[in-house]
Structures are given as structure tokens and as C-alpha cells.
């Protein structure tokens, strides 16, 4: 139980009232005077040269106010890193996937814009295309980018220890291949942008996003405008899950249209466009070889990972590295060799999705269970033997300062009745376990930190100004809860101004699991700074030293004699008269090795801290239909400290849906070449309320030495460990390993048939 007034308690989130009443406005809900509506003409070809675009007829259509093509763009290419700038957001010469942006129209209404698209004539020279990353790497495959031989976009090599020798010394070695198809975020809010450009050259942007500062900087580069003129505003965002982090053609094109028409322009994507033309998760092939000692300790790990990156780099170097990093963040790996390849194909662009890879985390987690089975070790034992602990250093050099992995494993096992159930349930029913470790706040250069300001009104209320970004997790509420706790105020006494690239200080955004750890720490520091100023001023008024004072319920009081107190508003007024207005400032930058680089130097402290978790899943497998049903999930998450336990539980329960039932059993994209066949929510299956298991969430608190009140992060848990937990449970139920995700009925039936034939 918490000793604090506010943090650690189940509080109502500050954003929930507006969301329950319909007052919360998302991008598509916004309108501005004289606003136009935009639509994009998209490529019907997977790979083609654009020879000529004729927009004259479209421009002449009544109601059309602007048409843009690649010729209107600056030619500056987008890339997250200086060495990955390969994406012309409105290409002038070549398209590389079906659904890529070719031209766009802004008109008085959406119907007119759509009509105008039909009047645009594009002459293409169709080029040979490639859709499979292993094919794309072969000699003679169509080359998608001139700079990338064999279509290799990124290669991340990591080598630790003496891998070859370790394999020779290993008691048992096994090799497996795991495969994963594409899946996607499918946030409930479709992608949308509102852009407004004025005569003074100010560009304002509203779009669902995970980092307004990152968007603003990218747009300032791409449009060749000073950063002070590009202002990305706060707006409610309907889910992100990694899919709002990058820079997308939509915001660039909408900005171009607004600049050309000199009117505000809104573009709202259809669900199909949100599927095909923003971002989706990587598909991958994982070849993993693991060597262990006789008692099941990991001795050597060698992994070749091939990611299908689609047409452009996006966050490529990060996507290519993160699967391995998460592996080394969970288990002790004395010797490891990793070769990650991200390969270009003529498919839509793949971006950040949680931690990249059902096949990776699910596969390697299943391999541990396979080895345990071979050696006659209980999977829980196997996990505990290899799980990292506080004080240890990971393979590539990150020190772990707090770690509740073993505690989480044991808690999940005990609450689920693991010992009574594993291997003992009737045929068709099974129980399985998964584990994960996760980086919290990784090196992002100048963009890796956060700062906050808190100012006071003469009535004792305050305004917190923070770059913190909320995509639904509760981050806005989290910083207010922290600041209110420090200042002895109620949450409703503090207004929040957030996520505005012009007004709020730089912040890493809802990215790299850093909001609580980094933005929360900055808000805490700002509140502590303000408190110090307040106590200093009040010490004169109460004839006491600042150390003898504290604040509670909006009053500054003498700790020894609480009846000696002064109203906070009075202190604020005195500060104003004395020309020492109370303005708290705070900042935080995670202690990471800034020289660490994803590709060229994957060594050194990679994150400020690490969170850990474990899950136990129970399943029922229908051997007639192949259908897997998850009946129960017991999840334990080491979040450091739960600032708001209700919000932490919500994150955990949500990832049972997205990472567990959805990603493990249901979600995948189906293709005909480069054409996505299920770009709609009828055929792209996401979990519904009736698909969900009973969930027992367990919060493990390890009080991180750096985190605000000891907190780390709460979002990434089941989206990494549920694949393994369910995959292992399916084996426990029916004795087959499904090595391709998602685990759909056809794969289960095929495996069962093969098993029958084999026996």
C-alpha cells in the first residue's frame, strides 16, 4: 500500500469525463472556417515509374481548390535517421507499393475531391516487383531502391562472447525456424490530418500522433521551413500502439495542399487507407539456434532474422534491432550472435509495432519450452534459471537496476495453479508460460528527454506545461497525478497543457515506453522545484524554516503544528508582489550511453531502466476444428511502481487482447502479390468482447531507483509474452508446436494431422 496521498492510488483519469460525454475532439471532429477536404490518388501498381501526370482536368472541376503531385514537393526525402532517408512522401518519379501516394486534391467537399481524383491521368511504366523478402535478397531480384543491393535496407550484426566455442561446449543444441505474417495496429481512430497555413507562413497541424515535436521537426525539414513556423497541436488520439510514431505522407500532403490553397485542409483516411498507406507490422522469418548446459542454462544463441520492411526504411534500424534487444533484456546470454536484415519489398511500409515480432518472441519462447521438454525440466524452472536479475549486465552492456522477473514468474505460476495444471490437464486443454523484459527510454539524442514547467494562479491553482503525449494510455493523467502529489494539491487543481510542439518543451513522446519514466520524472522535478520556491516564500509568512514546512490540501503548514498554516493562494500572491513569481522547472534525460548506435555501435547502456513481466495462459483446443480458445490469463508485470494501479491493469488487460487473442490467434493480412486482400475490419479479425479470457492482473513493484516514485512503464507486457504463453499452452493441450503465427485453425489441424501420420 502506498504512503503517498495520490500516487499509488486508483484515481479517475483526468481525460475520462470528456471522453465519456463526447466532448473529446479527435482530428476528424475538428473544423475550421473555410476548411477544404482532401483525398489522395494512390498507385494501383506495386512497382512503376511515373512517366507523366496530367492534372488539368481535375484542377478545372468546380469546387477544386488545389491539386498537388511530386512536382510540388521539395524533393527532400524522409528517413528517421540520416542514413535512412529514402522516402519521398509524394514521389515524383517512382512508386513502390500499391496504395502509395501519387497526387492529391483539396476541394470544397470530399465528394468533389474524390471526383477530381478520377480526372487525374497518370502514365506509368510498370516494373517487375518482388513481395517476399527472401526472394528480394536473391541475385537478379528487381531492385527497389538504387542504393540497396539485393534490397537489403538494414543489416544489424551483434556478436557477444565466443559463440562457436559455446555451441561446441553445449550439452544440447536445437535449431528451429519461426515465421510470422504481417499484422497491424488497427487503432479505432482512422488516420486523419488537419493542416492550416497562414499568410505569415505559420503551419498548424492536428493529427493523431505519439510525438508532436518529432512530427514538427520532420515537417520543417521536408517543407524547408523554420521549426518555429511548424506547430503540431495537441489533439485527442484514438490509440497508437507504435503506429503513430513515424512521419507519414498524409501530414506532408495535407500541409502542401493547405499551403497551395491558402486555406485549412482536412484529410480523413478511409479504413482501407489506414490499413494500406500508413504503417503496419513487419512480417519475418526467424532462424534460431540455441545451445544449453545439461541443467538448462542458456550457453549460446545464434539468430538470423529477416524482416519484410516493405517499400521504405521507416524506423528500420530500430525495428531490426529491437527483437534481439528484448531477448537479451529477458535472459542471460553469455554468448550471442545476431544478424538482423530488414529487406525492401514492394509492399506497404512497415513500422514500429510494440516490440516487433510474434515469430521472434513467440518462437524463442517456445524453443525454451522445447528444450525444457527434451531435458525433462519444468518450463517454470527453465525460465527462472535463465531470467535476468537486478545488478546483472545484459549481453550488449546494459546494467539492470531493478528487476522483478523471477518474482513475476513465480507470482503468475502460483496464482494460475501452474504446478497442479502443467502437463496434467485433459487432452485438448493446456497451460503455457511466457516472459519478457523491456527497455524503458532508449537513446534518442536531443529528443530522448523531457522538460516541464509549472506555474501558479493567484487562487492557488496551477498549470502544468509538459510535452507528455497521451494516445490513450493515461499519460496526461499520470503527470498531473505526480505533480499534484508532490504539491499537496488535488488533481482537479492542476490544468495540463501538453503535446504542443510550439508551447510545450521538447519531450520524447509516447515512444520507447518512456512517458512515465521520463516525462513523469520531468513533471515531478518541476513540481519539486515549485514546492521549494513555495516553502521558501511561506517560511517568512509562518516564521519557520522551509524544511519545517509541507503542503497539503492547498495549504502550507508547519509539520509539527499543522494549525499554523497559510493558504497557498496567499503565498502565490506574496511571490507576485515580491517579484519572485512561482514557476517550477524540471527536466529528465534517461542515463543511457548516447554513443550507442543501432547499427554501428550496439554496445553500452541502452535504456534508463527495464520493465519485466510474465504470463500464464490457459487454452482449449478444439481438435475437430483446430480452433484455439484462450480461457484464462494470469499476468504479472514489474512496472516498478504503479502510479495508478487501475491504469496499469488496463494496460495489461489491453495487451491480452492485442498481443494475446488478437496477435497470437487471429490477426494477419492476406495478400495477392502486393495487393492487400483484407484491408477492412470485417475481414481483418480483431478480438471482440466475447473472445476474451478471464484475466487476473498482478502488479509487481520493484521501486526503480531512477523512476518517478520508482515507476518504470506499464504498456509492454502481453504484446511480447502472450505469443509464447499461448504457443506453449497449445503444445501442452495437444502436443504440437505451431511455428507460424498467427496460430489459426488450419495450422493447428495440419500439425495434428502430421503428428498422427508421424506416430
Amino acid at each position: 500500500m502506498t504512503e503517498h496521498e495520490l500516487v499509488g492510488r486508483r484515481v479517475v483519469r483526468i481525460d475520462s469525463l470528456a471522453k465519456a460525454t463526447g466532448e473529446a475532439r479527435y482530428t476528424a471532429d475538428l473544423t475550421l472556417p473555410r476548411m477544404l477536404h482532401a483525398k489522395v490518388l494512390r498507385s494501383p501498381h506495386a512497382h512503376a515509374r511515373i512517366l507523366h501526370i496530367d492534372t488539368i482536368k481535375a484542377e478545372k472541376l468546380r469546387g477544386v481548390k488545389a491539386v498537388v503531385t511530386g512536382k510540388d514537393a521539395t524533393g527532400v526525402k524522409w528517413g528517421v535517421f540520416s542514413y535512412t532517408r529514402d522516402h519521398e512522401l509524394l514521389p515524383a518519379n517512382k512508386v513502390r507499393y500499391i496504395g502509395e501516394d501519387v497526387a492529391a486534391v483539396a476541394a470544397e467537399d470530399e465528394e468533389t475531391a474524390l471526383g477530381a481524383l478520377e480526372l487525374i491521368e497518370v502514365e506509368y511504366e510498370v516494373l517487375p516487383a518482388v513481395f517476399d523478402p527472401l526472394e528480394a535478397m536473391k541475385e537478379g531480384a528487381p531492385q527497389i531502391h538504387d542504393h540497396a543491393e539485393n534490397n537489403v535496407n538494414i543489416h544489424v550484426p551483434i556478436e557477444v562472447g565466443d559463440v562457436d566455442r559455446a555451441f561446441e561446449e553445449a550439452y544440447y543444441v536445437r535449431e528451429d525456424r519461426f515465421v510470422d505474417t504481417e499484422y497491424t495496429y488497427c487503432q479505432t481512430e482512422p488516420y486523419a490530418v488537419l493542416a492550416s497555413y497562414d499568410s505569415a507562413g505559420n503551419l498548424e497541424i492536428w493529427t493523431p500522433n505519439a510525438s508532436p515535436h518529432t512530427k514538427a521537426k520532420a515537417l520543417s525539414n521536408l517543407l524547408e521551413k523554420p521549426l518555429s513556423k511548424v506547430k503540431v497541436r495537441r489533439v485527442f488520439t484514438g490509440g497508437a500502439f507504435g503506429g503513430r510514431s513515424d512521419i507519414f505522407p498524409g501530414e506532408f500532403i495535407t500541409a502542401l495542399l493547405s499551403m497551395k490553397a491558402r486555406r485549412p485542409v482536412k484529410m480523413v483516411y478511409t479504413r482501407e487507407e489506414s490499413f494500406t498507406s500508413v504503417r503496419q507490422a513487419h512480417s519475418m522469418v526467424v532462424d534460431s539456434k540455441i545451445g544449453v548446459t545439461k541443467d538448462g542454462r542458456l550457453l549460446a544463441s545464434e539468430i538470423k532474422l529477416v524482416l519484410d520492411g516493405g517499400a521504405y526504411s521507416s524506423t528500420g534500424p530500430i525495428a531490426t534491432s529491437v527483437p534481439f534487444l528484448v531477448w537479451e533484456e529477458t535472459y542471460r546470454l553469455p554468448n550471442a550472435r545476431f544478424n538482423g536484415y530488414r529487406v525492401y519489398t514492394n509492399k506497404p511500409v512497415r513500422g514500429m509495432y510494440r516490440c516487433h515480432g510474434r515469430a521472434f518472441h513467440g518462437g524463442l519462447g517456445m524453443q525454451l519450452d522445447m528444450i525444457a521438454e527434451e531435458l525433462g525440466i519444468d518450463p517454470l524452472e527453465m525460465q527462472l534459471k535463465n531470467a535476468l536479475k537486478a545488478g546483472e549486465t545484459q549481453a550488449t552492456g546494459s546494467r539492470i537496476t531493478s528487476c522483478g522477473l523471477s518474482e513475476a514468474l513465480e507470482a503468475a505460476a502460483e496464482r494460475s495453479g501452474w504446478k497442479e495444471k502443467r502437463g496434467k490437464l485433459p487432452y485438448g486443454k493446456g497451460i503455457g508460460m511466457g516472459a519478457n523484459g523491456m527497455m524503458v527510454g532508449f537513446p534518442m539524442g536531443i529528443r530522448g528527454g523531457s522538460a516541464a514547467i509549472i506555474k501558479f494562479n493567484e487562487d492557488g491553482g496551477a498549470t502544468l506545461i509538459s510535452g507528455v503525449v497521451d494516445n490513450g494510455q493515461g499519460n496526461e493523467s499520470m503527470v498531473v497525478q505526480i505533480a499534484a502529489d508532490v504539491l499537496g494539491l488535488r488533481m482537479e487543481d492542476i490544468n495540463l497543457v501538453s503535446a504542443d510542439s510550439e508551447v510545450t518543451p521538447l519531450d520524447q513522446g509516447a515512444y520507447s515506453q518512456a512517458a512515465t519514466f521520463v516525462s513523469g520524472n520531468a513533471a515531478r522535478a518541476a513540481a519539486m522545484d515549485a514546492k521549494e520556491q513555495i516553502l521558501d516564500i511561506a517560511s517568512d509568512m509562518l516564521d519557520a524554516t522551509p524544511a519545517q514546512l509541507d503542503i497539503k490540501d492547498g495549504k502550507v503548514f508547519v509539520k509539527e503544528r499543522p494549525e499554523w498554516n497559510v493558504w497557498l493562494g496567499k503565498v502565490i500572491r506574496k511571490a507576485l508582489i515580491d517579484n519572485t513569481p512561482v514557476v517550477g522547472r524540471g527536466s529528465y534525460m534517461p542515463q543511457v550511453d548516447q554513443s550507442r548506435d543501432w547499427v554501428s555501435n550496439p554496445q553500452g547502456q541502452h535504456a534508463g531502466t527495464f520493465s519485466f513481466g510474465a504470463a500464464v495462459a490457459e487454452v482449449e483446443v478444439d481438435t475437430e476444428t483446430g480452433q484455439v480458445r484462450v480461457t484464462n490469463v494470469t499476468g504479472a508485470h514489474d512496472c516498478g511502481f504503479a502510479i495508478n494501479p487501475m491504469a496499469v491493469e488496463g494496460q495489461l488487460e489491453g495487451s491480452v487482447a492485442s498481443g494475446g487473442v488478437g496477435a497470437t490467434l487471429l490477426e494477419e493480412h492476406v495478400w495477392d502479390g502486393g495487393q492487400m486482400l483484407n484491408a477492412n475490419m470485417l475481414e481483418y479479425k480483431v478480438p471482440l468482447s466475447v473472445d476474451m479470457p478471464q484475466i487476473v492482473p498482478i502488479i509487481v513493484e520493484t521501486i526503480d531507483p531512477e523512476g518517478p516514485f520508482g515507476a518504470k512503464e506499464a504498456g509492454l507486457w502481453g504484446s511480447m509474452n502472450m505469443f509464447q504463453a499461448i504457443g506453449n499452452a497449445v503444445y501442452d493441450a495437444v502436443g504440437v508446436w505451431i511455428k507460424e503465427f498467427p496460430i489459426t485453425p488450419d495450422k493447428v489441424l495440419r500439425a495434428l494431422e502430421e503428428k498422427e501420420r508421424g506416430s
Partner: protein
């Protein structure tokens, strides 16, 4: 397309609107009446985000033509609370942490209300079935089910 004048009864008020025959109720609510609390998640009847109440029954406003519903009582999320007093389902969603990104919340809350009007003491299974037409990507539905049960007479 030629527009027709229709009279819609929305949240207890009569509103005259000129609409095209192919305009959906969702479009009319959002774009003409500025009731943007009704969200559009897919526009093809799959996600349930645009759910509103039509004579007390939940319907997908993206699949409903505005010209069809002239004689019916339409309730959107903006019409659920009475003045400052929130509906018990709204209160329960707030108190139980059933709202994360909030995009599905209007459709979810209205669906919950319609269920409780018809069945004031639902079982957990009945709640899960009732909301199975509305997609939530954030919560895993656990706290939504908990909130609707808390607002019911079942607890």
C-alpha cells in the same frame, strides 16, 4: 444529388436538415448537426464506433440513411447525460477505468445503456454478448464489462 428536407428528432430536439438521399445518419450527425461525439471508425458497419440509439435500440449510424429515420427518437452520446448529471453508465465507465483512448467509448456507453434499459440485471455473458459489436483496441474489454455490470442492478 438533389437534397431533401428532413426533420430529425435528435436528443429530444427537432432539427430540420437538407440531406442527400445517400447521406448516412453518421454524416448528418457529425457534419451537419456538429454532434461529433459519434465517431466513425470504419464506415462499413464493422467496428460499431458510430453506434447511436434509435428508439432506444443501438444501431450503426454509418449504415443508416438519414432519410429513413425521420419519425424515430435518436439519442447520441451528447444527449445521454441530463444537464450536468451523467448517466450511470457514463459514471461507471469513468470510475472503473473503462476508458483509455476513448474513441470507442461513445458507442460502447450507448450500447451498454441500451442493454441495461432492456435487461437491468444482465449476467457477465450477456454484457459481453451485447457489446460484441463494438471494437475496442485498448482495454481488452475487462473494465468495460466491469463498468456495465457496476451500473446494472446485478451488483
Amino acid at each position: 444529388m438533389e437534397k431533401r428536407l428532413v426533420r430529425l428528432k435528435v436528443n429530444g430536439e427537432e432539427r430540420d436538415v437538407a440531406v442527400s438521399p445517400n447521406e448516412t445518419l453518421a454524416e448528418v450527425l457529425r457534419e451537419r448537426l456538429e454532434l461529433t461525439g459519434t465517431k466513425m471508425g470504419c464506415g462499413e458497419g464493422a467496428c460499431g464506433t458510430c453506434t447511436v440509439l434509435l428508439d432506444g435500440k443501438p444501431v450503426r449510424s454509418c449504415l443508416t440513411l438519414a432519410v429513413e429515420v425521420q419519425d424515430k427518437e435518436i439519442v447520441t452520446i451528447e444527449g445521454l447525460s441530463e444537464g450536468a448529471e451523467l448517466h450511470p453508465v457514463q459514471k461507471a465507465f469513468i470510475e472503473h477505468g473503462a476508458i483509455q483512448c476513448g474513441f470507442c467509448s461513445p458507442g460502447m456507453i450507448l450500447t451498454g445503456k441500451a442493454l441495461l434499459d432492456e435487461n437491468p440485471q444482465p449476467t457477465e455473458e450477456e454484457v459481453r454478448r451485447a457489446i460484441s459489436g463494438v471494437v475496442c483496441r485498448c482495454t481488452g474489454y475487462a473494465k468495460i464489462v466491469e463498468a456495465i455490470l457496476a451500473a446494472s442492478d446485478s451488483t
